[in-house]
Amino acid sequence: MSLLQATEVAKRYGGLAALSDVDLSVGEGEFVAVIGPNGAGKSTLLNVLTGLVLPDGGRVLLDGWDMTRAATHKRVRGGLGRTFQHGRPFARLSVLENVMTGAAIQSGRSELDLRERAMAVLDQMGLAADAQAPIESLSYGHRRMVEMCRALACEPRVLLLDEPAAGLNSAEVDQLVDRLTELRGKHRIAIVLIEHNMGMVMRLAERIMVLNFGCKIAEGTPSEIQSDPAVLSAYLGEGYRHAGV
């Protein structure tokens, strides 16, 4: 039985089918990547999973709980975490306070407890030195990491990452890959990764789903996807196979 399951999810914006009957299933501790060209519906899929957008059809289950119409904060309390495509830390809170907001997901924790939990997450993600810094003093890459720490502090069982490497330099991308590998290894967090950086996707994902114009056009292991003709023509490009990334 899968931990996160979306069945025949559909979403239209006016005449545009942003998602047409898309299925997604993520097992405990699994690493799934969702790829596809811009406008394919990847972020919309995350919005439906997190309840920021209600689907026109289909169902979304988290560990058997039908949360298709549940409020976002309830899904988060149920174990869903997410970062945004453009990075949205709380600008008026410090780095530590941002992460403490996430740790407050469980009521009844003392301030000291919240602080310690937040520091542990920051430490693990290599941001402990910036704990007291205001958000606006951080680089773009660090801001995005703060957002990820905040999501992790909510102790998710499934973490949805929307293009986490966009805007990072290559050293930061390598670091991100290490951290994500670590997260899976140590905490068995299932991860759904939306990403354009194919090197990163191929290194991390166990399974890849490809979206194009709101439809799932392929799903399989990285090697299957890399040689799928439909994927090559719709997204990766014919040159991809030969470039051997």
């Binding site: 997190t50 997410r82 600008a91 008026r92 809170l93 907001t101 407050a104 003093s137 999501a151």
Partner: protein
């Protein structure tokens, strides 16, 4: 931060206020009393506007609800003011809940207009429900506050009492600011979507901020009624709501120290500028604009490092009722 700053803040208010109360003459003590009472209301408004970003133009109505509550319970039912105060505060919180649940679904300038409408309604009811409120004649002969048999009859002794309430209000507000609830309100103003994605119940956090602000307003109203011992509808019309907002913005929204500084400053400014006569209001308008442009974090922002000061345009817009969405 933890518990030290809230306690220091409370102690500082008591000491500074006590010092002032010894130095000032009666007329200025009266103004200081009014400033202290306004400061309590503005600390409340800071929860709604400064933290949660709810533009409320109906704050004076909640001050009025507290004041009328105390006035009616003490004069009509002959309750002791000490019983009437908490009852009026509880009643106002209930009113805020009834108003807040539907109104807080609105955002930005829609919320500003709706709360303004609420304030106008309050004034109309207070002025026309003559059997109960006495209409525009108001309610007089509100009993004096007494502590252990001593009446707080003069400005100085009342000020001491009001200072204790202000110090307690500021301490509690600072504790809330530094708690998960304070952070949740601030997060909601920064980004509602990201807040819900962090497990925060956004409508609940907004309602909590709105309720807290009304409770502080009601405390201020109750103190006002016991201080003036006479209230009438025009003490609580929407112009006062705008004045509270101006105090908060001048002092520095999002800051408790700013709320207090703003209340003091805006209360005493007309005194200092009395020579301007009727040109005062024009001056005051320009002055608020200047603060918004050159001192975006208000008076309280003067001591803060530049990295904390934010774009003043945001607040200019907020003050004229522009919505968060309009910014994006």
């Amino acid at each position: 931060m933890s518990i030290r700053f809230p306690l220091l803040l409370g102690a500082f208010i008591l000491i500074a206020g006590l010092g002032l109360s010894m130095m000032l003459a009666d007329y200025h003590l009266r103004l200081l009393n009014l400033a202290v009472i306004s400061a309590i209301a503005v600390i409340g408004l800071n929860f709604a506007f400064g933290y949660a970003g709810l533009i409320s133009l109906g704050h004076a109505a909640f001050v009025g609800a507290g004041a009328y509550g105390v006035a009616l319970l003490t004069t009509l039912l002959a309750w002791s003011p000490w019983l009437a105060l908490p009852a009026a505060v509880a009643g106002t919180a209930l009113l805020a809940m009834l108003i807040g649940v539907p109104l807080l679904r609105l955002k930005g300038h829609y919320l500003a207009l709706a709360t303004l409408g609420f304030n106008v309604c309050f004034s109309i009811v207070a002025a026309n429900w003559i059997e109960v409120t006495g209409g525009t004649n108001g309610i007089s002969r509100i009993p004096e506050l007494q502590i252990a048999g001593h009446a707080l009859g003069n400005e100085r002794s009342y000020l001491w009492f009001a200072l204790v309430v202000l110090a307690a209000s500021a301490t509690v507000a600072a504790l809330i600011h530094a708690s998960r609830h304070g952070r949740a309100m601030i997060a909601v103003r920064d980004d509602e979507t990201a807040s819900s994605m962090t497990g925060i119940d956004v409508p609940r956090a907004k309602l909590a901020a709105f309720l807290l602000s009304s409770v502080y307003a009601a405390v201020a109203g109750g103190l006002f009624a016991c201080h003036m011992r006479f209230i009438s509808p025009e003490d609580f019309n929407y112009a006062h709501s705008i004045a509270y907002l101006a105090m908060l913005v001048v002092g520095g929204e999002g800051s408790i120290v700013g709320a207090i500084l703003g209340a003091l400053f805006v209360t005493f400014l007309p005194e200092w500028l009395r020579f301007l006569g009727s040109a005062y209001l024009a001056f005051f308008g320009l002055f608020v604009l200047a603060i918004l442009i050159f001192l975006p974090s208000g008076l309280a922002g003067i001591r803060r490092p530049a990295s904390f000061s934010r774009d003043g345009r945001i607040k200019t817009l907020a003050l004229v009722g522009a919505s968060r969405e309009a910014r994006q």
